[in-house]
């Protein structure tokens, strides 16, 4: 029947399109270096502030224009609430939570990370443009959730 010829054609085109999308995805993740967070390490949320590197939250330089930002999420603030880096810096955010789930989304960047008690998450971003970028907690974490924010200042 003719209908089935059309259907086979439609599904073939659809299938090819989906495979093409998957290849585009593969290409984008390789060519643009887009990485998802994987397994890093576990941590006891009750002892975050006694466990290095989280005993000293904040920015530390690890190379020329290379930084690690050690961040702690807690109800309802980021610690530290603000980090300053010169433009052209590459910053690896290393973050965890001491209480409930939090999120960390840096406005206008690819830094989008869940902070899960017991887990350490990592995400790397290069900051080329000067300016102020909001860090927003984007996972519901209780009554003060909408007050939990921070800032990346690129100078």
């Amino acid at each position: 029947m003719k209908v089935h010829t059309y259907e086979k054609g439609f599904l073939a085109v659809g299938g090819v399109l989906l495979v093409a999308c998957l290849f585009a995805l593969l290409y984008a993740s390789v060519a643009h270096g887009i990485r998802l967070p994987g397994r890093v390490a576990t941590i006891d949320p009750a002892r975050v502030y006694q466990t290095p590197p989280f005993d000293k939250p904040g920015l530390r330089q690890v190379g020329p224009r290379e930084y690690v930002a050690v961040m702690v999420g807690q109800a309802w603030a980021f610690n530290p609430a603000e980090i300053r880096v010169p433009r052209g810096s590459t910053v690896t955010f290393r973050a965890t939570s001491i209480d409930v789930l939090h999120g960390m989304n840096v406005e206008g960047t690819r830094v989008n990370l869940m902070l899960i008690p017991g887990q350490i998450g990592e995400s790397t971003q290069r900051f080329d443009e000067p300016g102020e970028f909001l860090i927003i907690c984007h996972e519901y974490c209780g009554i003060g959730h909408h007050t939990m924010a921070g800032k990346v200042i690129v100078e």
Partner: protein, 554 residues
């Protein structure tokens, strides 16, 4: 040539008491929808920074309202509707009574579960949002109530399976009528998919909330949630697909093109709906990138049966439109019976679902997911799937189903049509706001009206969200008015005499490969194997890290 999709096309009516209980099961769903949309309106207004809290005296916090909106509209509404609708269709398809005790048990379990959840949410002891992420710890009645809701879906599944088993014993060698087949397969998929969340609630969260378990692992329970959590959206969608495949062609004057293709599509949903959950956890630490990539590929895979559905449904509609005089390439669209409120609602649901599907593929693409994860984009997306494809289809079904079950004719076709169009226009404005705001980082699940931060880029998206949400609210309110008036003032005797059961162009074959499609146990076995491949490596290599006591930060 055409063939039937039910055992006896001449008609069948369930005993009055079974019909009555199924009707009340469905009412629970629509009552939950009413309760939930008030909070939906409130949430939408918050995106335009309108602080509505003072207007809702019963509401203690934004997040209590958001919990109520999610629980009522995506958990109670959808499952209550399916618990009534699917068994009714199976009975009709097989011309067979359901198991009376199970019809009652489904209803009572659902009702009891609801009462417990309502108590927990209304008393503000469960403002954890419908995802129930630990270590936010709700009152035990919340978890237990939701467990009962899930058990009610299992009872509905058992009812359909026993009814089908009885029919097959009496008709050895016969093909399962298509309508019964797609209903049963849909709910078997849900039955499988519901097991991880049942484990999460029964083994971890419920004992934890009762003080019997000291600590839980937030990543572990979250992973169990999303193990169920992607398939759950297909569980919401499947009753709508059943209507689009088996009932809508009849309402549009067309025919379903192929019995076997429809069965294959539902088999693909059974196989592919569940092993895709990690695409909700792309940005989670603690899960390997390889697993996330595998789930990305499978998520693209589950798009395929939806493409097949798009073809089948459109072909059936085209047959209907052409039979009614439609000419040319697209002329058949105009000649569809748009004046039938039941069909119009479902056609609008399909149109918005195209946008829902496309945005869904973007969610599954992990490169773009990093931009939109947990932003307003995501609710923008799922209001075009569950908030329209599902909700508007259930509304459309209600326009024949409630008259059919209550014995009263639909009160006003014009009001019913106006409701669906209003809702759809509102939805498109709302989703445009949410989607564009999300691309600018506007967060979801956040009380923006009182937030200590704001971005100028969110102003227009926020206003569109609020305007669209208000129009959606008015549209759905009109639906409730129509249904309420139907129940009190609809003319007796004007109701449809039978369920609108379609026909197919090609009959199910008794020879060759096609009868193998009816070997349901075989397909379930394949589904289990695929689930083990997709989730096995995670659970084998992950050591549960029970570190979290509970918090009640609300």
């Amino acid at each position: 040539m055409s063939a039937t999709i039910v055992f006896d096309p001449r008609g069948f009516e369930l005993p009055a008491d079974q019909r009555r209980i199924l009707r009340w099961t469905i009412y629970i769903g629509f009552i939950a929808l009413v309760a939930g949309v008030f909070h939906g309106l409130a949430n939408a207004l918050s995106y335009a920074r309108i602080d509505f809290l003072g207007w809702f005296p019963g509401l203690k916090t934004y997040y209590q309202g958001l919990t109520a909106h999610g629980v009522a509209n995506v958990l109670i509404f959808t499952f209550a509707f399916a618990n009534g609708f699917l068994p009714l269709l199976v009975a009709r398809a097989l011309s067979r009574h359901l198991v009376r005790s199970l019809v009652y048990a489904t209803f009572v379990t659902l009702l009891l579960g609801n009462l417990l959840v309502i108590y927990a949410v209304v008393s503000n002891q469960a403002s954890v949002l419908y995802t129930s992420y630990a270590p936010l710890k709700a009152h035990w009645t919340y978890y237990f109530g939701l467990v009962l809701v899930v058990i009610s879906t299992w009872l509905a599944l058992a009812n359909m399976l026993i009814t089908l088993q009885g029919w097959r014993k009496q008709h050895p060698g016969a093909r399962i009528p298509l309508l019964a087949y797609i209903c049963v397969l849909s709910w078997i998929m849900w039955g499988l998919a519901s097991l991880p969340i049942a484990v999460s609630f029964l083994v971890f969260l419920l004992p934890w909330s009762l003080g019997l378990r000291e600590k839980v692992d937030p990543l572990y329970t979250r992973t169990l949630f999303w193990f169920t959590g992607h398939a759950i959206v297909y569980a919401w969608l499947m009753p709508a697909y059943v209507s689009w495949y088996a009932l809508v062609p009849k309402q549009a004057g067309g025919k379903l093109i192929s019995d076997s293709y429809a069965r294959i599509t539902f088999i693909l949903f059974l196989l592919l709906s569940i092993p895709t959950g990690f695409h909700h956890q792309y940005t989670d630490p603690g899960i390997s990138v390889t697993m996330k990539a595998m789930h990305a590929v499978l998520t693209f895979g589950v798009f395929f049966p939806s493409l097949a559905t798009a073809f089948s449904v459109m072909a059936a509609l085209e047959i209907g439109g052409r039979a009614r005089g439609g000419k040319g390439l697209l002329g058949w669209i105009r000649t569809l019976p748009w004046g039938d409120p039941s069909l119009a609602a479902q056609l609008l649901a399909m149109l918005t679902f195209v946008l829902g599907g496309v945005t869904g593929l973007i969610n599954a693409s992990f490169t773009m997911n990093k931009v939109i994860h947990n932003t307003a984009w995501v609710p923008g997306h799922f209001h075009m799937t569950v908030g329209s494809a599902v909700a508007l289809t259930f509304v459309g079904i209600a326009y024949w189903l409630i008259p059919y079950l209550s014995g009263r004719g639909l009160y006003s076709r014009k009001m019913a049509l106006a409701s669906s169009w209003t809702y759809t226009i509102g939805l498109l404005i709302f989703a445009r706001g949410m989607i564009s705001g999300g691309l600018e980082g506007m967060p979801r699940r956040t009380f923006l009206a009182q937030a200590t931060y704001y971005s100028e880029a969110w102003r227009l998206p926020g206003i569109l969200t609020a305007v669209g949400g208000t129009i959606m609210f008015l549209g759905i309110m009109l639906f409730f008015v129509v249904i309420a008036l139907t129940l009190v003032a609809g003319k007796r005797g004007e109701q449809p005499a039978d369920i609108p059961v379609s026909q197919t162009l090609t009959a199910p074959s008794l020879v060759g490969w096609e009868p193998r499609l009816d070997k349901i146990k075989l397909w379930v076995a394949f589904a289990v194997i695929l689930i083990l491949i997709a989730y096995g490596p995670f659970f084998l290599t992950y050591t549960p890290n029970a570190v979290s006591q509970g918090y009640t930060f609300w």
